[in-house]
């Protein structure tokens, strides 16, 4: 395999060959706090201005897709949430929705509502990390502590539900692992009622802050045409005036039952990308409130024995139940032949699993359409011509999760 050097040609042509003091090449990362993970950037500078920027990714490549192709469908839930560890529920949801469509599984309404509540709360938690770490890149240390304080309340909810603070693995094909604990229903409204008071505070701290505005408005602009050309997705695309949100365009998991807006901006600068995410947190609160109001007792798993394990009590007096239990655990279920792609909306953008089944109990092919990978491509065109210090906040404004880029 011949690998070409990374030197950008336009810079090389101007280098006299022996020694040049005009351009400076800076290597940012892979281990660097401002790159939000293991991202490496090779930046050529003319003074402080960026002449060329080449992102190098792959440091976190784990081969999740290949591993999933060698595990049964239910086991794959262990891997899906490890890609985007900040919005893990979204990855679980995207995966189980794809397999459920393949299987024609019928997910009970209660399970769908709980999925929506958890995914939206996780979206808020993800955006809080975005604000905390993004401000940190601008030298503002305080917002990080405010954001982490709020996120802590959400982590407690997720821990009560799934037992862990990250990598939940709580959604299963056909429903949920188990019903939520009794503490869930009081915990969520308590957090949701307190949050708007804090968002007022945050609005004054971040979004209405004139220093932040001066630093971000009109900086690193992605125009609408550029966003479409570079396949920008999610909040970053909506900040550039591309109005696509799959919760509205093709509602899944019962999103059609909730009234909410999709925040939009036209400017496409860093401030717009932050503003869209800020408003999205409030919209997510609205969705969670409505879903809580509509939450009614009921089953949380598809009763189809070909997908879900039989209840424990049935194992004591039914031989068939024991056989189903054994077969589902050792071998798993067998979706019919086919292929499926279900687009969903994660905190980073369009997320979908392209799953191909050959009739076996392991997926034949899994391909993740990861929003961070698509978004990170826009970093290069939007940073060139700008200042080096602006590039650092520009990385944060696309909110990449490198586990999601590298898979």
């Amino acid at each position: 395999m011949s690998v070409k050097p990374v030197n950008p040609p336009q810079v090389e042509a101007e280098l006299p060959g022996s020694f040049s003091t005009r351009y400076m090449r800076i290597n940012v990362g892979p281990q660097h706090p401002s790159t939000h993970g293991v991202l490496r950037l090779v930046v050529d500078l003319d003074g402080e201005q960026i002449v060329s920027l080449k992102p190098q990714v792959g440091y976190l490549h784990t081969g999740f897709e290949k591993t999933m192709e060698n595990r049964t469908y239910q086991q794959c839930v262990t891997y899906s949430n490890r890609m985007d560890y900040l919005h893990a529920f979204a990855h679980d949801l995207a995966y189980v929705l794809a397999v459920e469509k393949l299987m024609d599984a019928r997910v009970p309404v209660r399970a769908q509502r709980i999925r929506v509540i958890l995914t939206e709360l996780n979206r808020i938690a993800s955006h809080l990390v975005f604000f905390g770490t993004g401000m940190l890149d601008m030298g503002a240390l305080t917002p990080y502590f405010y954001c982490m304080r709020e996120r802590e309340g959400l982590m407690d909810i997720f821990e009560a539900v799934s037992g862990v603070r990250m990598n939940y693995g709580y959604f299963r094909v056909g429903g949920l692992y188990q019903d939520v604990p009794d503490t869930f229903e009081p915990m969520v409204p308590k957090w949701i009622d307190a949050f708007p008071k804090h968002t007022d505070e945050y609005f004054n701290l971040f979004m209405a802050n004139s220093i932040l505005k001066a630093r971000t408005q009109g900086v690193a602009v992605v125009t609408r045409d550029m966003a479409i050309d570079y396949a920008l997705t999610g909040p970053s695309a909506r900040a550039s005036g591309v109005p696509l949100d799959y919760r509205k365009a093709a509602p899944y998991s019962g999103y059609e039952d909730y009234v909410f807006d999709v925040p939009m901006r036209e400017e496409g600068d860093i401030y717009a990308r932050m503003a869209v995410r800020f408003e999205e947190m409030l919209e997510s609160c609205k969705i969670v409130r409505q879903a809580l109001d509509l939450l009614e007792p009921g089953p949380v798993k598809d009763p189809d024995r070909r997908i879900s394990l039989p209840p424990r009590r049935e194992l004591e007096n039914s031989m068939e139940a024991v056989i189903f239990h054994f077969k589902l655990v050792t071998e798993g279920f067998h979706p019919p032949k086919g292929e499926v792609y279900v687009p969903t909306e994660s905190a980073r953008g369009e997320l979908g699993y392209y799953v191909i089944s050959d009739g076996g109990s392991m997926p034949y092919r899994v391909k993740v359409k990861a929003p961070s990978l698509a978004n990170l491509q826009s970093l290069e065109p939007s940073s060139i011509g700008g200042l080096f210090a602006d590039m650092v906040i520009n990385i944060a404004s696309f909110d990449p999760v490198l586990g999601d880029v590298d898979k």
């Binding site: 365009a249 189809d304 189903f324 499926v340």
Partner: protein
Amino acid sequence: MSGATSVAALRAAFGGAVERDDLICGDAVVWVAAARSHEILAWLRDTPGQDYNYLVDITAVDYRDPELPLEVCYQVRALARAEDLRVKVALAKDAPLVVESVVNLWRGADWLERETFDMLGIEFEGHPNLRKLLTPEDLDGHPHRKDFPLGETPTLFNDGRFLDPAAFRAGLTGRNPGLTGWSGGARRGVTSTEGALPGEGRDKA
């Protein structure tokens, strides 16, 4: 959300270059000739009424079968009506694995094509910078090919017996009837004590 109407338009415009089409799980899928894939994708992007102006994803599938070729899949979207179309290009296994790059249609194809090149070894002709994206530079081979080894260790049991993970999993693929031939159904006449018959009344393939 399916581009079934576009398939008919494609057939009218390109005739024999559209090899076949299908509706799988509600998604329109169309197979086109490798030699004309770029032309067809450009037509889908630029023709008024089609307007597939957004490239969602590029990937490829290795069917591990001498009869079935490698397939390159493009998922394109008409943003205005949120309609997707999956365009597939089947490459013959003995011929060189080359398709024309679509970076000049969508700049976002850059990394997606590099990833596909890296993972499945498909070359995109005309790509400005076709290098590996994710795997280390000194890694030989393409990890998402089905013949790429997983590198697992067999499990040793007390009696000296080995369980080879690959051999165990071979029983779980669609080509094999499974450990006992069971594919998820119940025996006829068997009822559950919970009332609901497993999978009763649903027609699944």
